[in-house]
């Protein structure tokens, strides 16, 4: 039995997950159940970061993974971001890198610049 804190929303429900049966208790909403199962089978995280940008009002623009990626791939994803250099203007949702690291996760812009 694993005890977890759900990170799906700021409530931070205290979950209990049976690692064998994958039964989840303690969640206040369905997303908590999904998180509980995922965390014990294949933990994933949304990664938020920045990339270089030219011609904008600042040298960096914020980006994120449009879906959570496997925890083990976070630092590889960060390395990929180092090679990116965008040119202003960019819009929220613009795809910076598609299907990173053999996943269907894209890096998208999160700030209009």
């Amino acid at each position: 039995m694993r005890e977890l804190i759900c990170i799906s929303c700021p409530r931070g429900c205290h979950l209990k997950v049976d690692e064998k049966t994958l039964e989840v208790t303690g969640n206040s909403c369905p997303r908590g159940k999904i998180y509980g199962i995922s965390e014990v089978t294949n933990p994933v995280r949304v990664v938020t970061s920045t990339v270089k940008i030219i011609g904008g009002e600042s040298p960096r623009v914020s980006v994120k993974t449009d879906k959570p990626i496997a925890k083990g791939k976070i630092f590889d994803a960060m390395k990929l971001l180092n090679d990116v250099e965008l040119k202003s203007p960019v819009n929220i949702g613009d795809v910076v890198l598609a299907n990173i690291l053999d996943t269907d996760v894209n890096i998208v812009v999160t700030k209009k610049m």
């Binding site: 977890l4 799906s8 929303c9 700021p10 931070g12 949304v46 990664v47």
Partner: protein
């Protein structure tokens, strides 16, 4: 002199939401004055997600949340003066502001909404002894250097304070290649959201030292930069326990030790400030002690979720439109008092004769974490309302609503935390 019906000081989430709320309720001459070159306030550097779950039912990053309101405001005729700083505000609602573009200007407003946000507590406020070298930053300043300007302020970091800003910066620094040796927290519990302890500390095996504080900062031999910090355990009075000192080598100390509402302009306008919140004392319609000046967002009370900032600010905008239509409400007042375990309340006063039909919203924070309690609203010894809560924590602002007909015959209401009833 330039004149506007409504001037909003601050173009962050509070100011934007207030403008939207005012416009939606019929105000058509609105000016937002924003000191930065772009709107969005502190959200521009809050590149992490967790915003918007209540307001938009989506998990957004700070800049995305800001853009939602910027888009809403752009669909209105709200005017924006950006890169403009309000230098002075007077009781009769005259502002002086300057900008590179328009120079020094005087603006008169019929109503004003204060939305200036807050600033970070400094090292001096908690009197950390030691050297005053480079490498000591507030977490927010380090966040700006990192997320806006693209600089890593240090490579081996210790963080003081486990509020959300400290937790978020722990993760941010690690993702950019630094190591975070420890997060040191004075209280016996973390002051940030549990989700952030998980995804910012636990995910990266960063130790969290509860009931500890930094008791010395030691510079390198050039006296130039931090070389190590000394942390000590503290007792129940938060005083360092001699003999518990340990050294942590680092080149950077980030301070996440609290936020203070930015009320200099409010004080210039002789607005009464509540020493508990450090924000203006307000009535239930969010109007301050000066007629026609309203306050919302972090300048009023430090919030933990921007969604609640927007809700509060939209209410302020709506209430301003009422004020502009119907003028000042003269009314007897109900005093709202905070009792056991409640640190403060906003509002501090409720107008009995308000024509607002909506329930009165009261926000507050508790003084320490508690489980299985009730929030109780009482007057003259009898309970007017009771709200059960499984978990209460100082890090999480509480909001309750109480209908106005329950308040018809009272002069003072107490908010307190009591045991669950059997």
């Amino acid at each position: 002199m330039i004149e506007h019906e409504l001037v909003i000081i601050g173009g962050g989430p509070a100011g934007l939401s207030a403008a939207y709320g005012a416009y939606e309720n019929g105000v058509r001459d609105i000016l937002i004055i924003e000191r930065d070159a772009r709107l969005g306030g502190i959200l521009n550097q809050c590149i992490h997600n967790g915003f918007g779950l209540h307001k938009f039912k989506e998990e957004l990053t700070g800049p995305e949340y800001a853009q939602r309101y910027i888009d809403l405001v752009n669909q209105t005729n709200v005017k924006i003066k950006s890169d403009t700083m309000v230098l002075d505000l007077s009781k009769d609602k005259v502002l002086h502001c300057i900008s590179a573009k328009d120079g020094y200007e005087t603006i008169k407003a019929k109503a004003i909404i204060l939305a200036m946000g807050c600033r970070e507590r400094t090292r001096g406020a908690i009197t950390i002894p030691g050297d005053r070298c480079a490498g000591i930053f507030t977490a927010g300043a380090a966040q700006k250097y990192c997320n806006i300007d693209g600089y890593l302020v240090g490579k081996k970091v210790v963080i003081l304070g486990s509020g959300d800003i400290g937790l978020i910066m722990a993760r941010r620094m690690v993702l950019e290649g630094a190591t975070v040796a420890a997060d040191v927290e004075l209280c016996p519990y973390s002051n940030g959201l549990n989700r952030n302890v998980v995804q910012c500390l636990n995910d990266f095996d960063i130790p969290l030292y509860l009931s500890h504080t930094v008791t010395d900062i030691v510079a390198d031999e050039n006296d130039g930069r931090v070389q190590k910090v000394i942390i000590s355990e503290v007792d129940e009075n938060k005083k360092p326990i001699p003999g518990t000192e340990r050294e942590i080598e680092c080149d950077t100390l980030l301070l996440s030790v609290g936020l203070i509402p930015e009320n200099e302009l409010s004080q210039n306008a002789e607005i009464e400030i509540d020493p508990r919140t450090k924000g203006p004392i307000v009535y239930d319609n969010l109007e301050t002690s000066v007629e026609g000046i309203f306050a919302c967002g972090n300048v009023l009370q430090v919030h933990d979720l921007v969604d609640f900032v927007s809700m509060e600010a939209e209410r302020a905008g709506k209430n301003v439109s009422e004020y502009l239509k119907n003028g000042e409400v003269n009314s007897t007042l109900i005093k709202v008092e905070n009792k056991e375990q409640v640190g403060y309340t906003v509002p501090q006063y409720i107008r009995k004769d308000s024509t607002d039909e909506d329930a009165v919203q009261i926000s507050f924070r508790v003084r320490s974490p508690m489980k299985n309690k009730r929030i109780v609203v009482e007057a003259n010894g009898s309970e007017l309302a009771s709200f059960p809560r499984l978990n209460l924590a100082p890090a999480e602002m509480e909001n309750i609503k109480i209908s106005r007909d329950k308040l018809k015959d009272v002069d003072v209401i107490d908010i307190s935390i009591k045991e669950m009833q059997k």
